[in-house]
Symmetry: none
Subunit: 204 residues, 2 copies
DNA sequence: TAATATAATGAACATATGTTCAAAAGTCAA
DNA sequence: TTGACTTTTGAACATATGTTCATTATATTA
């Protein structure tokens, strides 16, 4: 009942393909992945996996392979009970400007406070581990402490920077030597702090 | 941008079919389910759903329909992901002794695929925007593609690195010039790939 | 009403994909 | 080595499935 190397390989590929595509592979795709040139070779292999209880098949159906309970258990189907509850509605201000949808987040990430999310554009905070395309979570507030990473509205553009007050002006400092700091008057009407960054999420 | 009754019907069916079969339906199956007799009628309908951002398609591919993030968000709920702590030697990755807790995650971030989470230790992937203390989400798999960021078990220690196979050894490459790459024999018993990194979360 | 856009049909087509078969190649025990 | 068994190949085949097109029906609007 043991699987040999090639069978294990094939099963691995099928499981992985399913996860990545939400769709089973074809015989030819399996063959290509594990180095078997004829569809019949693959068929043979898969028949073995079926008879050993790792797979099942709907005959004549395209992409008809499916995983058995046994396989799902071994590869640990961890789909758990969904947690019901709403998390962190965006602030109305940003909801209007930048509405991309709602994102659910674990409360351990952002606590109980009101929160909004923003997608990062550009590389200016790279050295703080904030990359282009990342999603930031921020707590809305109109002031900040020295050293906070803030989301600021500057000339109708949201920007993410370190917050460094200096006398009666403010230095918005990037975390990337290729970018220059921005200085604004504290009382400038074109400048406003929207919130303080408290978390980050990235899809890779 | 609203969906009419028939479109909503079709979308519902596709989501349901996917959930029940782990495989997208064919055009003919959709047509039969919603009462459209020609495949082209279904195609028309699905094109509408695609242009409205609910579905996507891999052209010419059998069962090539897939759900967009938007649709997953609407139809999916929060998912719980196990947080893996220290991985004990020999024990399966997701054995209870290895688990530190559960994290709720938006399906947008990790899709429907099986996922585990791991807390990052150290600075070795700094230049990839992966910082000390970050939580990584990974898809469990025992092999990987060149260039993937993987979580690997090396001498009973979980480590995060770029995966670069070179002949019969593997280079585990940090994203930080201060760290040296690690080389391991492909068949080394002390080495094992645990999964591929697909997302990241940071609390600040 | 006419005109225009939207939906759906039916049939033909192209190709993606599973199935089958005979033969070759490899494996393993007697 | 022989012989039985397993595994793979290659090619032909059948069918499942996406694509295209001309046409008709249905709604919407000027």
């Amino acid at each position: 009942m043991e699987l040999n190397h090639k069978q294990k390989n094939a099963l691995d590929f099928i499981v992985r393909y399913l996860r990545e595509h939400d769709r089973p592979p074809t015989l030819r795709e399996v063959g290509k992945a594990i180095g078997v040139s004829s569809t019949n070779g693959v068929r043979y292999l898969i028949d073995a996996l079926i008879s050993k209880g790792y797979l099942s098949r709907s005959p004549s159906l395209s992409r008809g392979i499916s995983l058995t309970d046994k396989t799902m258990r071994q590869h640990g189907s961890l789909r758990m009970v969904p947690l019901v509850g709403r998390v962190a509605a965006g602030s109305p201000l940003l909801a209007e400007e930048n509405l991309e949808g709602q994102i659910a987040v674990d409360p351990t990430l952002i606590g109980r406070s009101e929160t909004f999310a923003l997608r990062v554009k550009g590389e200016s905070m790279r050295d703080a581990g904030i990359m282009d395309g990342d999603i930031l979570f921020a707590r809305p507030q109109s002031s900040a402490q020295k050293g906070d990473i803030v989301i600021a509205l500057l000339d109708n553009e949201a920007t993410v920077k370190y917050f460094r007050p200096e006398g009666n002006r403010i230095c918005l400092q990037p975390a990337n030597p290729k970018f220059a700091p921005i200085f604004v008057e504290k009382k400038s009407p074109d400048f406003r702090i929207l919130g303080k960054v408290i978390g980050l999420m990235r899809k890779m």
